[in-house]
Amino acid sequence: MRAVISVIGKDMVGILAKISAKCAEVNANVVDVTQTILQDMFVMVMMIEISNLSCGFPELVDSLTREGTEMGLSVHVMHEDIFNSMHRI
């Protein structure tokens, strides 16, 4: 099972480091990362493996969302199935 972390906002030092540190804390392996600029916004998308999390998925969602708020960024953590079902037939 995998989940997608998306970070949207103003680019700054340490975004990747902070988000991946939080993932490492709960044993979530980072599978892939892409960064891009969409409509003048910095967008980072990170795919993580969540099969062996040391905490519940909802707790990880809360902790990353909180981290995002502290950095003034919008962070979403969502199970990959929502994107697969919406955008793939």
Partner: protein
Amino acid sequence: MINVKDIMETITMIDEENLDIRTITMGISLLDCADGDQKRSCEKIYEKVCRKAEHLVKTGEEIEKTYGIPIINKRISVTPIAMILAASGGNPVEYAKTLEKIARTVGVNFIGGYSALVQKGFAAGDEALIRSIPEALSVTEHMCSSVNVGSTKTGINMDAVRLMGQIVRQSAEMTADRDCIGPAKLVVFCNAPEDNPFMAGAFHGAGEPDCVINVGVSGPGVVRAALAKLGPDHDLTEVADLIKRTAFKITRMGQLVGREASSRLGVPFGIVDLSLAPTPAVGDSVAHILEEMGLQTCGCHGTTAALALLNDAVKKGGVMASSHVGGLSGAFIPVSEDAGMIDAARSGALSIEKLEAMTAVCSVGLDMIVIPGDTSAEVISAIIADEAAIGMVNSKTTAVRVIPAIGKNVGEELEFGGLLGSGPVMRVNTVSPAGFIHRGGRIPAPLQSLKN
């Protein structure tokens, strides 16, 4: 890796365009709870529904968290209570109180099924239940009620239509101190579906399994935003194609959530209701979609055609996205629950007559319309009869949910709050249909019913 643009599109839909799952509704059969002793019946109902729905709200919240998609309501629908009343007799309101107690115990937003199916006539329990509706709605908060008065197969039960005009009025009178909230939770149907997840008309039909999960999606804001990006230079074929693509995406999400809820709760997955259900929130309006297509204000000439296009495209897009489609499936046009409709009604561009025409091409009917407090029961019955006739002849579900604003007239408003919104009192044609309504009897089933 999933495309970044796709990811951003989904997030924008949820964050900015009000995409959500309107409801996960658990349908629960009460047939095995019917008992000759009413007290015992109520106990069995309370025990069974609380047991089946114990984890419904929690599971819904977990799914919201996992997929990052809001699930606005968790609801329960049950077997029409008139069927249980047929076995037990007694005061029907006791069942209403039981349902209310269940809603409070399990924490759902609504519980539906205080219902009777009388399209051909009244069986044991039916008339008593219908006559108790005003009191039942006045002593409960979360309970919804519905009555099916006609169908394409059976024609229209005009005795029931006459009675329902009185019941709608009484429901408003008994809740006049609470903005007449009673009739906002009462729907009069023709061709009522048995697997509808939407309130106030949800009930669990007799042909349904013991317990089932049905899902209703929303997303007018997403369709409107997509059309806004398309711009005014594209023709209506392109508009229809874009709506289809958008409806597909919205419905796929409903299918995912339904499947997940069904697996987590260990309950079979019933249907996805392919619906565009508005909310009073800005940017979540079906009327605004029609206006985005090029109408100055919803209600002007052209509205019916635009709505027909929208409704058809929503179904075509949604049907491939879901393994089982059911419920009401179509665009909803509840006036008080739709910011664009409210504005159109206030400005006078949208009339009840136009809404009636619109119901011929969309789901469901004259919905959440506030009418003057002095509207007679006969006029309300006649509104119901007209709407039922449209449903009967066109083999579709139609419904009436009008709210007589006791003590108020055109120019004033009622405020229900929450998803039910607020609505201006709309003008009603008061020329008397009383002679027609008092004849009673049945309008025979149309030729369309003879399909065998």
